[in-house]
Structures are given as structure tokens and as C-alpha cells.
Amino acid sequence: MGAGRDGARPGTPRQAGFWATMRAVLWSFFGVRKRQAWLDDAGSLNPLAVAAAGVLAGAIFIITIVVVVQVVLA
């Protein structure tokens, strides 16, 4: 059915760029998003890019904690 392929539907607004995708993912790590920003995300994000950005942000998150731990122990 059509809904599953929304991303490819004609008339879909512009695709979100790298930073817009990262911004959405980073907000997701905090778990809060304004309604308008969410509507913009829903219209423009590419699910595959979100998955890739999620993995990248996860790696950054882990590296950040490792760095904080190293600083604490230094």
C-alpha cells in the first residue's frame, strides 16, 4: 500500500540535508521535539538517512562518554 512508500511520493517537499537529519536525531536522543519541527522532519527526512545518522550519533554518544570517563579518571 502507498503509505509505506511515502518518501518517494510525488509532491514530497525537499529532502533534509545532513545537518537537518543530525539535528532531528540528536533531539531524538533527548526525546523532545517541537511540533512544528517534527512536522518539518516528517515531511523532509529520509528514513535511511535517519538510520545512518542514528548509528553515527550513537557512536558519537559512546565516544563522548568514553572521553568524559577519561577526563574524570585523569
Binding site: 500500500m1 503509505a3 509505506g4 536522543f29 533527548f30 526525546g31 521535539r33 577519561q70 579518571l73
Partner: protein, 526 residues
Amino acid sequence: MAAVTHDQIQAHHPGPTGLMRWLTTTNHKDIGTLYMIFSFIMFLSGGVMALTIRAELFQPGLQVVQPEFFNQLTTMHGLVMVFGAIMPAFVGFANWMIPLMIGASDMAFARMNNWSFWLLPPAAILLLGSFFVPGGASAAGWTLYAPLSVQMGMGMDMAIFAIHIMGISSIMGAINIVVTVLNMRAPGMTLMKMPMFCWTWLITAYLLIAVMPVLAGAVTMILTDRHFGTSFFNAAGGGDPVMYQHIFWFFGHPEVYIMILPAFGIVSHIIPAFARKPLFGYASMVYATASIAILSFAVWAHHMFATGMPAAGQLFFMYATMLIAVPTGVKVFNWVATMWRGAMSFETPMLWATGFIFVFTIGGFTGLICAIAPIDIQVQDTYYVVAHFHYVLVAGSLFALFAAAYYWLPKWTGRMPSERLGKLHFWCSMVFFNITFFPMHFLGLAGMPRRIPDYALQFADFNAMASVGAFGFGLSQLIFIAVVLKCARGSGERAAARAWEGAEGLEWTVPSPAPHHTFEEAPVVK
């Protein structure tokens, strides 16, 4: 159940009847019902084991069971409740409700769905039957830590095989849910219009696919250590028993979220329905769910602080675990904000949902306390941990399951559940649950270890209290059977299509009880 009676089916869909109908069914509602009946039977079986444990612990000394059997009971209680009761119950809800919520006619892989379910009874027979083989059931704890699990009798092999089978069932169920949600939504239902229960299950399904093979790998390595001469976890052969714990908890921590994320989804439907307001921060809820799922892969070793690890490791897992509290806190905030200034009424599902928020939050907070490495080393393997995870799994997962059952019973059976019995069930469960598990915090802080059949005299009073509460809690669940039987037999007030005044969603657009086949023509979502 009355929802899918014989006559209704025959009128539309000639096919096998009686037992063969249930064996061969590919209908998502039938399979959902089977899952729920199965999980409730397992819940009662695990409950009887819990009550035997509590009977033994009512007084110091050994009165009811032998220590070896006691260990089998604690092990099997955990395995049965996690893999036999909670997980299949959520899959049952997913089967019944996801197609109705997204406007699909059935699950994507209907035959695989049948197989997913029918793998479970043999696994349950293996698990429960292991009590009767020489050496009895596995007594290594539900975590099946090596080297104990390498040393047990054939009951351990049966548990391993049962876990393999249940894992296959879970993975197939999860694939089915992912494909159904991604491909079979009604036209117009974009991902961000999708009901929260579907969102939380979609993310849970990904977690299942990611971690069930890890568990399968862990228990397979135990199996080969036991019978095929390998030494994965045997230090004498160059292996490492602590490696088992790493592998197990890499599965085990996401597993905790597998058992709680669908509960979050359920509560996110019930609170708005009875507060008569849309869910506050829908997008945040989706994002927070995703966030919890991702973070759940980076915290596993907080279960292992006492195994000895470098300070850097302790700090890493401690910080990561504490950060998970942020998206979880966002969820609790959103539920409370949804209730804020809402036109609230407290029918039975809402009682369970608000009760869930209250007691689950206590479990969340004690989780934060356990996350702090220096504290955790003190309370590791004490009753504090037992109290913590029962606040999460009973007050969290189980209370949400009851909330969902009362919420959707009208849709399944066409009858409203008895408010009088439902409220009695809630208040008895709530009071007895707290009588059972709250004193365990004090027992744990005082140093009472878990998984022991006998204890020192100073722990006697709180243990007696917990045992009385446990029997009260167990007996309270019989009220639920009465409620369900009453609805299933067709007595009680008739339910309208939209059974609850404030309920929203496609499932409330079909008649109650839901016909055997729904949405053969996909609805259009505006």
C-alpha cells in the same frame, strides 16, 4: 472468544472447525487470542512457582521445599514469566491490535504467524516438563550463568532447546510485525500518524531481531560446552565464564526494553482516551522510544559491576545507564502533561494506566540507584534488585498488559468488562503488589541475598509480609479470569464500536466485537 465465534466465521469463511480451526488458523485475531491464552496459562504457572517460593520464605528455615528444588523454582519462574508470559502476551496484543490500528486486513505473513505461535506450546512443554526429568529443571537462575549452567543435568538441555524454539518464534513474530507496520498501513497513515502502540512495537521488533540471535548464540555455546568438548566458558580449557555474562546481558538489557516499550505504547493510548486530550508530545514519544532502544545496547555491563571491571568500564556503564533515564523521564512527563487539565475519568483501564505510571516510576528510580556502581556493588544479588525488577516488570509490563486487556476487551468480545470487578482487581493487585515487593527494598538494603531458600532471623518480619502480599496478589488475579470469562460468555453491557468515549483510532471504527475479517477494503486516513 465471543468476538470470533463459530457462526460468524462460517457465514463468511468456510474452513476447519473445532480444534483444527485453532491449529490451522492464519487469522490475526485468532492467533492473537491464542497468544494471550497461552501467556495467561504461563503466567499462572509462573505464579504458582512464585507462590511456592514465597511459601518457603514465609518463615526462616526449610519447611516446604528442598534447596535444590527451590533453585529450580526461582530459575523456572524467571524463564516462564519472561519468555512464556510477558513476551507472548505483548505479541498477542500486537497480533490482535496492530492490523486493526493501521487498517490492514491481517498480518503480512499469516502462515508464518501461525507457526510463530504453535512453536510456543512445545517450548513450554520442554520448559515445564524439565521438572520431571532426572536432576530436575535448570537451577542456574534465569540468566543461566556459566559455570552453573555447564554443570546441570538434562533439565538444562531442555531449557536451552526451549529458549532456541522461543527465540525462533520471537524473531518470526518480530519480522512479521516490522513488515506489517512498514508495508500494510492504510493509505494516508504516514509513519508519524501511526498509533503509538504500533510505533513502540515497531521499535521493539527491531530490538528482538537484533538480540534474540545473541541469546541463541550464548545458550548454544553453553550447549557445546556441555556436550561437545568446547571451553567457551570454562576457565580450565582457556575460556572465560565472565564472557557468558557479557554475551547474555548484551541480549538481556535490550530484553528489558522489549518487555517495557510496548507497555509504554499501551499507556500512551489509554491516558489520552480517558483524559479526553490528545497525547502530549506524540513526536517526543516516538523519538524518546527510539532513543531508549538505541541506548539500551550500550549499558549491558551495569548488570556486572560486581564481576570486577576497570574504573573506566564502571564509569562508562554507569553514565550511559543514568542517561537512559532522560528519555524515560520525558515519557513520564508527557503522560502527566496529557492528564494535566484533562477531563479525566477513572474507568478500569485508566486506573491500571495511572497505577502503572506511579509504580513503574518507583521501579525506574530504584533502577537509577542500582546504576550507581558503588551502590550496585553493595546491593548486587540482594532483594533490592529483586524489588527493583519486579517494580519494572510486574508494575510496569504486567499492569500495562492488564490496562490493555480492560481497554480492548470490548473490541474483542463485544461486552464491556465489569467495572466493579475490574476496579476490585486493580485495587487488590495494587495493594498486594506493594505489600509484596516494597519490603524487599528493605530486605535488600539489610543484606538479604536473593535465590536462597533460608535466611537469617532478622529478615523474618519483612519476608512474612512479602509472602502474605504475594498470596493476596496471586489470588487477586483470579478476579481477572472472572472478568474475561464474563465478557467472553457474552454477559455484561454491550459495547459500542467506540467502546470508550474518548478512544481514538481505526480499531474503534469497526464493530464490537470485531468481525473475523476487518479492513478487507483499506480505510483512508485523512
